[in-house]
Point group: C2
Chain length 172, copies 2
């Protein structure tokens, strides 16, 4: 028991140091741009919201994931999404699969090819009040998109006002 | 403390009753067919493996999810997959999105339409030894597919021997 208590104190101490030296995600100061500039940690473990496929110039595949706040809001139909809700769109090229096509005996199968970018929407009704309460992000190879690109997110998403600026529906 | 201990004993007692009255998933008797006949609980909360899109006669979208055993095996490259690994393919029709197309200003966007079926692969090297260690399942509106359909799973997946009969790759 003594050992366990000591271990817990040690963990708490380390956690304290980490908390002190690196501000938690979402705690940027007021001078920061109204865009999301850090990749939300752990997003690849989030639950599935839906999938998507864009043709036109994009030829892209998306897996759309949500953190627990977002998933609960989707499942319970809560709109607007509560603060803290975060949605991740993992984009890949829409690539034919030679292996699958061989198994099927014809060309019909598409799978994610090269990862192209990851986009996030983070709900914080105060911080991102100017863009409908959502902060937008675009990361390519871990680097954030430039401001000109990020400025295009809100006007487009603002067309989906009825669903709190979110296009993606929950896939059952 | 006394209360807490009592509560824990009560929980353990209830768990004991549940364990006694309902056999755990995967514990069917030997007379059961070598297919999976129960929907693995909680699959909709599993982590993302990848997405897929089939054309031809299917016009289908898939979200492929894995339980923790499967996800760990994918991330660590463990092949063959260990017993208990379970992979779920949630299929939907590949439907155009009028709302997204309006936002993009052209017809380019596809989203999951009607759910069509959910397929599972469950690894149990003893129980499913005759089909490469994998039990296959197909559920449509909650009902299992018939034996004729299920018999087609293994010969097709057996073409992917190099990846332990699994076609889907992990999307980063």
């Amino acid at each position: 028991m003594k050992r366990m208590v000591f271990a817990l104190i040690a963990v708490a101490a380390v956690a304290g140091v980490v908390a002190y030296t690196s501000p938690a995600y979402g705690e940027e100061n007021e001078a920061a741009p109204a865009f999301v500039d850090k990749i939300p940690p752990g997003y690849r473990d989030w639950k599935l919201i839906s999938v998507a496929h864009e043709e036109g110039n994009l030829h892209s595949f998306a897996a759309v994931l949500g953190n627990d706040v977002a998933i609960t809001a989707y499942r319970e139909g809560t709109r607007p999404f509560p603060d803290g809700a975060t949605i991740a769109a993992l984009h890949y090229s829409h690539a034919p699969s030679d292996e699958n096509n061989k198994a099927f005996g014809r060309a019909q199968s598409f799978v994610p090819g090269t990862p192209t970018n990851i986009q996030f929407m983070v709900k914080d009704s105060k911080k991102y009040a100017a863009t409908g309460g959502w902060g937008f992000a675009h990361f390519k190879e871990g680097k954030p998109g430039d401001e000109a690109l990020l400025k295009t997110c809100f006007p487009c998403h603002n067309q989906a006002k009825a669903s709190d600026l979110v296009f993606t529906r929950y896939a059952p």
